[in-house]
Each structure stands twice: as C-alpha cells, then as structure tokens.
C-alpha cells in the first residue's frame, strides 16, 4: 500500500477537484461583493508565491512526504513534533468539509433527516476510498473531472439566458481593504489548503515535476472558481448572492428552457458531491498517513476507520448550526489557517534552504 504511485495527471486532477470541492458549493471571498470574481482571480495568482514554496519543499526531497522531510532534517523528535500541526490541520479540514456537505445535503434535499445520517454515509464512502489507497482516489479523480467539466459547460450554456452582465458593473468601486480581505479569504479557502498535499507527495512518481503539477492545477481550478463566481453574480445579482448559503445551487436552479428543461440542480448536486468526496478523502488520507507515521507505523490502512469515525464525531461537534458554519468559514478560517498554510511552510522552507547551503559549503571546504 505504501508503494502506491500516482501519475502526474492523476494528482493534478485530484488537486483541481480538491480545490473546487467545497468552494463551488459555499463560495469564497464574499467581502468583495460584485467583484468577488476579480478577487478570486487575484487570489489565484497571488497565492502562487506560497504555492511555489510548497513546490520547493517537495522538490528538495523528491519521493518523500512532509513528515519524512521533517524527520530527515530536524531529527525524529523535532520532526514529529513539527508534523503534528499539519496532521491536525488535515484532520480538521476533513471534518469541516464533511460538515459543509452534511449541511448542504440536509438543507437542499433532506431537511427532515438528522444531518448525522448523510454525514455518516458520506464519511463511510470516503473511508472506503482511503482504505483502497491513493491510487483509487487518483483514478476516481480522472473520471470525475470529466463529468464535472461536462456539467460545468452544459449548465453554464443553459444558464446564459439568465445571465445579466450588468450585475457585474460597476467594477472595483469598493475600498481597497475589502479587496484585500476578500483575497485573503480566497487564498486561505481553498488555495492555501493545498498544503496538505505535501503529506502525499511520496505517492507521486518521481519523474513528474512538482511545479508543473501544482501550478497547472492551481491555475485551472482558480479559473473555474472565478468563472463560477462570475456566473453566480450574473445570474443572482450581488445582493442575492451574498444572502445565499449555496449560491451555485441557487444559480443553477434558475435554469428553465421552455418550461421543459428545468430542475438541473440535481445533476449539479451530484457533481458537487463527487468533488466533495475527493476533498474529504484526500484530507482524511493525509491525516491518516500522518498519524501512522507519527507513531512509527509503516502501513496506514488500519487507522483509516478509527480516524474516519473521529472525523464524523468532530464534524458533528464543530458548529451548532449553518449560520455558525458560515461565520467560521468567512471570519475565523482565514486567520486560523494562516499559520498552517503560510507561517509554518515558510519557516520549514527557510530552515531547509539554510541547512542545504551549510551542507554545500561544508562539502566545498572538504574538497
């Protein structure tokens, strides 16, 4: 199981689905109002320096994951201590995304059913996928991305009659701080979350360039998210969109071609759930792999069920209601995630570079 290897295209598609997973459902960067799509686009490109740092960390030690890199460079004790925040972050992210989808299903389809029921079912599917291994998740991504791409194209074409380009105007009328806040939110959710892929890069074939994988995935996903946000604004209008919990779902429910082709939101819900399944599975896999390595176990499969069940309990405990969930996503998450997504990776990167430079100098002196 630990010898599983993913092809470059598979991991790229997995990252794209991971990024669009819950972002398509709950949206991001709401602070910028009608210019949300611009701030999402800006966040895509402004997140690239941080993403390049993730790439650099991964490319310094090809074929190794973050915890191995930390152990190798800082010793077993400090390395393992440094890996704990990343394991916690992956676990917390998995629980949060599971709750997002639990609330989504419970709001749109099963309002009378306790939300634990869809959450447990969803979690069990993810647990099975993680137990099957990263190769299975990668192969799932390969097929799911086709479905989602077709869905995005068809649904957007059908939604053209409902789009009002005037809803996007006037452009850039808000104060700069609102845009900064919006970009910050859009960076932390979803682009910065890709930090957990550092814990999975031991499963990527060595011949693939980490830079190519990460950068192409970030740019494609960023464009999809920005376009989806622009579509939502054009269809719903900025005020309605800000008031909606699930803007994409509401925008697609407006599709009505000749009173015949309507209720397309069900098709889209399936696409959302597929992307969500990939996101939760990847986060759970990272948490489980990290946990296994933290305790010095070679194989992670045995820990998937206990950690997956803990994730279900945690996600149920996280918030009282959907309002609290959105408050957390918009006001708390960007600040909470910042140390995991920026401060720790930058610190690790600087330490690795200094160590590498000192080693090279020492070698030169010896020669």
């Amino acid at each position: 199981m630990n010898n599983e290897k993913l092809a470059g295209t598979q991991i790229t598609k997995t990252i794209i689905l991971f990024l669009i997973g819950s972002t398509m459902v709950i949206g991001t960067g709401v602070e910028a109002g009608r210019d949300m799509w611009i701030s999402t686009l800006a966040a895509t490109f402004l997140s690239l320096p941080v993403i390049l740092i993730y790439c650099r960390i991964a490319s310094l030690f090809p074929g190794k994951d973050l915890i191995e890199i930390l152990e190798l460079n800082f010793g077993k004790l400090i390395g393992r201590l440094l890996s704990i925040p990343f394991i916690w972050f992956a676990f917390h992210l998995a629980a949060i995304v599971l709750r997002n989808f639990g609330e989504f299903i419970s709001t749109i389809a099963l309002p009378e059913t306790p939300k634990t029921v869809p959450m447990i079912i969803f979690a069990f599917i993810c647990i099975l996928a993680v137990k099957a291994g990263i190769e299975t998740i990668g192969r799932c991504s390969q097929y799911f991305i086709l479905l989602i791409a077709v869905e995005i194209i068809i649904v957007n074409m059908l939604n053209i009659p409902n789009m009002e380009i005037e809803n996007l105007r006037p452009l850039m009328t808000l104060e700069a701080s609102k845009y900064m806040q919006s970009i910050f939110t859009a960076f932390s959710f979803p682009f910065g979350e890709t930090v957990i892929f550092l814990m999975l890069f031991s499963s990527v074939q060595k011949k693939n360039s980490v830079y190519k994988i990460f950068l192409s995935a970030i740019i494609i996903a960023g464009l999809i998210i920005s376009f989806t946000t622009a579509r939502n604004i054009m269809v719903l209008g900025p005020n309605t969109m800000e008031a909606m919990y699930f803007p994409s779902y509401s925008a697609i429910s407006r599709v009505n071609i000749g009173n015949f082709l309507q209720r397309m939101e069900i098709v889209v819900t399936i696409a959302f759930l597929l992307a969500g399944f990939i996101k939760i599975s990847v986060a759970l896999l990272a948490a489980t792999k990290g946990f296994a390595r933290l305790f010095g176990f070679e194989d992670y499969a045995i820990w998937v069920v206990p950690i997956g069940l803990l994730m279900v309990n945690m996600s149920y405990l996280l918030y009282d209601d959907i309002t609290e969930m959105f408050e957390w996503a918009q006001k708390i998450w960007p600040y909470y995630a910042f140390p995991f997504q920026v401060i720790l990776p930058i610190g690790i990167w600087i330490a690795l570079e200094v160590k590498r430079m000192l080693k090279e100098k020492k070698q030169q002196v010896e020669l």
């Binding site: 309990n313 945690m314 405990l317 996280l318 009282d320 957390w328 006001k331 708390i332 600040y335």
Partner: protein, 69 residues
C-alpha cells in the same frame, strides 16, 4: 441508543480488523481500541449531552480576540 452505538462500533472494529492485511501487534491493537473507545464515547455523549462543547469554540474565541472583531 448507547447500547446500539457500542454494538455498531464493536461490529465495525471486528470487520475492520478482520479485513486488515497488515500484521496487528499488541501496541497497534491497544491504540486502535483506544481511538475507537474515544470515538464511541464522543458519539454517545453527542446523543445525551445537550450543549457539548465544540472543539472549534476556543479557536474561534482566540482568533476573534486576536483580530479584535
């Protein structure tokens, strides 16, 4: 409800451990049982305690106090 919860956790653990191809040592088994017991206890408490403290609440308060919002 709690009896059902315990039975379902025991059933899941039984089938999960049975299907594991990896060698199960005593240390692994103890950690596994501990994690399942914690998970089961939280699950039961979720059903009986009305205002279970959320693990996100201290983090939320900390972030709000830092940002001053």
């Amino acid at each position: 409800m709690w009896i059902m919860m315990i039975i379902s956790y025991i059933t899941v653990s039984f089938f999960d451990l049975k299907s594991t191809k990896d060698k199960i040592t005593t240390g692994k088994l103890m950690l596994y049982i501990f994690l399942m017991a914690v998970s089961c206890a939280i699950g039961i408490a979720n059903g009986y305690v009305l205002d279970m403290p959320s693990p996100a609440e201290p983090l939320r308060r900390m972030v709000l106090s830092i940002t001053g919002k």
